[in-house]
């Protein structure tokens, strides 16, 4: 069974045509991988479908814009995967 990170990394590699082995848990989706907001919609769509969740992108964006959160909290992949795991767990309750 693949890990959350493996699934997310594969989605990013396929969606954005990025070499899979360059995608690390420490990678920042925007700063390191150069993913723009439009590509991130495709990634969010694929993640939503793969995990049966709804990534709260608007809430995250608002928190970053309001200075209440950093982009690293949501867009460094290990942090993103942790939030995906939380959303999956919350849905299973």
């Amino acid at each position: 069974m693949s890990t959350t990170f493996d699934t997310v990394a594969n989605i990013i590699a396929e969606t954005c045509d990025i070499q899979r082995d360059t995608i690390k848990p420490e990678s920042h989706a925007i700063d390191d991988l150069g993913i723009d907001s439009l590509d991130f919609l495709d990634i969010a769509f694929a993640i939503d479908k793969a995990f049966g969740i709804k990534l709260p992108l608007e809430q995250w964006t608002q928190e970053v814009n309001d200075g209440k959160a950093s982009t690293e909290q949501y867009f460094v992949l290990k942090n993103l995967c942790s939030r995906i795991d939380d959303l999956v767990a919350a849905k299973a309750k």
């Binding site: 439009l38 919609l41 495709d42 969010a44 769509f45 939503d48 479908k49 709804k54 990534l55 709260p56 992108l57 608007e58 809430q59 964006t61």
Partner: protein, 157 residues
């Protein structure tokens, strides 16, 4: 259909918010300056405008779904296939189905048929944003009424 005004659907004939589906109709005009160039002596409805017609149809489904709370803006078109020609005078049936509602975006599948024959299909992604101003939203509400689309508006949008 008033191509020059980007009014690419004439009426919404079916809206099913339980199944997240919509159907619309549009008649391609027999006379338009667009056909003077596309193509001289061989008028065809441009494929990009067929895609726009599918986007507008799905856009109304999204607006109906969110009761005018958000405006869908075309963000990406995938798997667009233009399978047969659409010509002046043809009546088009445009269908859309909402495939996914994400946070700030939506993904829909759409197709167009003419006399039962598949003309084109595509997967379309929209960004959803608040209406920029009341006038914009008001004009969209007027357009919905013209298309025969009855949508209960959200209280504060």
């Amino acid at each position: 259909m008033r191509i020059e005004y980007f009014q690419l659907i004439d009426r919404v004939t079916e809206l099913n918010l339980d199944e997240l589906k919509i159907r619309a109709e549009a008649t391609i005009p027999t006379d338009s300056t667009i056909f003077e160039g596309h193509f001289p002596g061989y008028p065809l409805m441009p494929g990009v405008l067929l895609i726009e017609a599918m986007a507008q149809t799905c856009g109304w489904l999204i607006i109906a779904r969110n009761s005018f709370a958000r405006m869908p803006f075309l963000a990406s078109v995938k798997e667009a296939k233009l399978r047969s020609f659409a010509t002046p005078g043809q009546v088009l049936t445009i269908e859309g189905r909402l495939d996914h509602e994400g946070s700030g975006f939506a993904v829909a599948e759409a197709n167009i048929r003419a006399a039962g024959k598949l003309v084109c299909d595509a997967d379309i992604t929209f960004r959803l944003m608040p209406f920029d101003n009341p006038g914009f939203r008001g004009s969209m509400e007027q357009t919905a009424a013209r298309l025969g689309l009855k949508i209960e508006a959200a209280v504060d949008g």
